[in-house]
Structures are given as C-alpha cells and as structure tokens.
C-alpha cells in the first residue's frame, strides 16, 4: 500500500503549480483552470487523509467541494463572458475598474 504521505506530497506539488499559474497568468480563463487545479489538490489530500484516519467523512467532504466548485465555475464563467461582452478581452490586466 502506498504511504499516504506520498499522496500528500503529490497534492502539495499540484497545489503549488496551480497557485503559480494563478499568480503568473493574465488570462482569466486560465486563472480559473488553475483554481480548479488547486481544488483538486485539496480533494486529493482529503481522500488520502480520510483513508489514513479510517474516516469516510473525507469522501463526503470531497463530494461537497465538487458541488461547490461546479456552482463556482457556473457563476465565474458567466461573469467572464459578460465582462468579455463589455470589454472584448479576458485579460485581467485590462480590468482595473469596478465600474461596468
């Protein structure tokens, strides 16, 4: 059986890659994908921690995170599309005002 610490290390690597992408990229869509990457890393830690602690609630938590992430993607992509209709760009550098 694989040591749970290895899963934790893999999740940490995925999380750091996602955080780097979020900080370095300017395209709002790619930044959104990086957020999904970070959520996935956290899900992996929850599953392996639940397994190491013999607790099924880790998987229940992942289930909830999946649902909330789906809702978040729906709203976020709608915002990106409506911003694109106003400004014709998906680059976050161009969006420096709150005014629509």
């Amino acid at each position: 059986m694989i040591d749970p610490g290895l899963y934790m290390a893999l999740a940490a690597v995925l999380f750091v890659i996602g955080a780097l992408g979020l900080l370095l990229r300017r395209n709002a869509l790619v930044m959104f994908m990086c957020i999904e990457l970070m959520l996935n890393a956290v899900n992996l830690t929850l599953i392996s921690a639940g397994r190491a602690l013999n607790d099924i609630n880790g998987q229940v938590a992942v289930f909830f995170i999946l649902v909330v992430a789906a809702a978040e993607v729906v709203v976020g992509l709608a915002i990106i599309v409506s911003v694109f209709r106003l400004r014709s760009t998906a680059s976050v550098d161009e969006l420096s005002e709150l005014r629509g």
């Binding site: 893999l10 013999n54 607790d55 609630n57 649902v67 809702a71 409506s82």
Partner: protein, 183 residues
C-alpha cells in the same frame, strides 16, 4: 490471497501511482505553460483523469466517478464552450505591470516549498495518530458507504448545496441576460 499475489498487487499499485502522479503533474504544468487556452483545458482534463485514478487506488469509487462525470464531463465542457464563445486569445501580455512580479512569485513559491519540505522531512509532524492501522474496509467508498453519512449527519449541508446550485444557475442566467440600459 497468497503472498505472491499480494506482492504483485502492491507492485501494480505502486506502478499506477507513479504513472498517474507523473501524468497529473505534466497536465498541471501544461495548464500553466500552454499559450493556447484549449491546450490548457486539455492539460486540466489529463490532471482530472489522473486524480480520478488515484481516487480509485484509494477505494474512493463514487468520488472518482463523480469527478469524471462532473469535472471532466460538465465543468470542462463549460470551459471549452466559453473558450469558443470568447475566442482563443493568444496575445496575452507578458510585460510586467507589477515590478519584478515573476521573481517575487517564484521566490515566495520556492520559500513555501522549502518550508513544507523541511517540515515534512525534518519536522516532528504526525498527522496520523501513532499506532493507528489503516483499515481499507472502513473507507471503501461505495455509493452506500458515502450516502449513509451524507443523508444522516450532513443532510442540512446537502440541502444547502441544493439551494446553492439553484442560486448559481439563476445567477448565471441573470448575468447572461444582462444588457446595459441605452443611455
């Protein structure tokens, strides 16, 4: 299970873990590095599938299936539709509006990785109680096993997510229908 079969199963598990870890990291890197957002989406798809395989390796069957259906099926399709809608914008600006952004980000990330690695390797960090034995049957994530706590202990949170999804769908439709008043 004979000892020989047991060893073979362990070897297959280790091999799958290594393969899927490499695939997940490669997908994640291509999300960040790719210039074309479609390639980023495909990299994300690879990562999602690899992580789903890692879930199956840890006996989280239901979560793996939901991951493939919801993430790879619904969320990624939504991403691709939005990419189609707003066009592939490869002309991402790479001039740094914040001074030394890449150097600072790289430094912070490196410091965090070093700190986490140091704590993991040298620190006295026991997140599993000493002497606890992993019992795979306790977390065999079949539909019944996950649904039992979901519909007893967490039923309020479950209903709240139903409300959340309804609000999110209504909000997305409202955003899509928004038109600026002619002034």
């Amino acid at each position: 299970m004979t000892p020989c079969q047991h060893r073979t199963a362990q070897m297959i598990e280790a091999l799958l873990f290594i393969l899927m870890a490499i695939a997940a990291i490669a997908g994640a890197v291509s999300v960040v590095v790719a210039r074309n957002p479609v390639y980023s989406a495909m990299g994300l798809l690879g990562t999602l599938f690899s992580v789903a395989v890692l879930y199956v390796l840890q006996l989280a069957h239901l979560v793996a299936a939901v991951q493939v259906i919801v993430y790879a099926g619904a969320v990624l399709t939504l991403f691709l539709f939005v990419i189609m809608l707003i066009g592939i914008d490869k002309s991402e600006q790479h001039d740094e509006k914040l001074p030394h952004q890449k150097a600072i980000v790289g430094g912070i990330a490196g410091a965090i990785v070093l700190l986490a690695g140091g704590i993991t390797i040298f620190g006295d960090f026991d997140w599993v109680p000493a002497g606890s034995v992993i019992n795979p049957n306790a977390t065999n994530g079949t539909i019944e096993a996950v649904a039992a706590p979901l519909f007893t202990d967490w039923v309020l949170a479950f209903e709240a997510t139903a409300l959340l999804l309804t609000i999110a769908a209504a909000g997305a439709i409202a955003l899509a229908h928004y038109r600026r008043r002619p002034s």
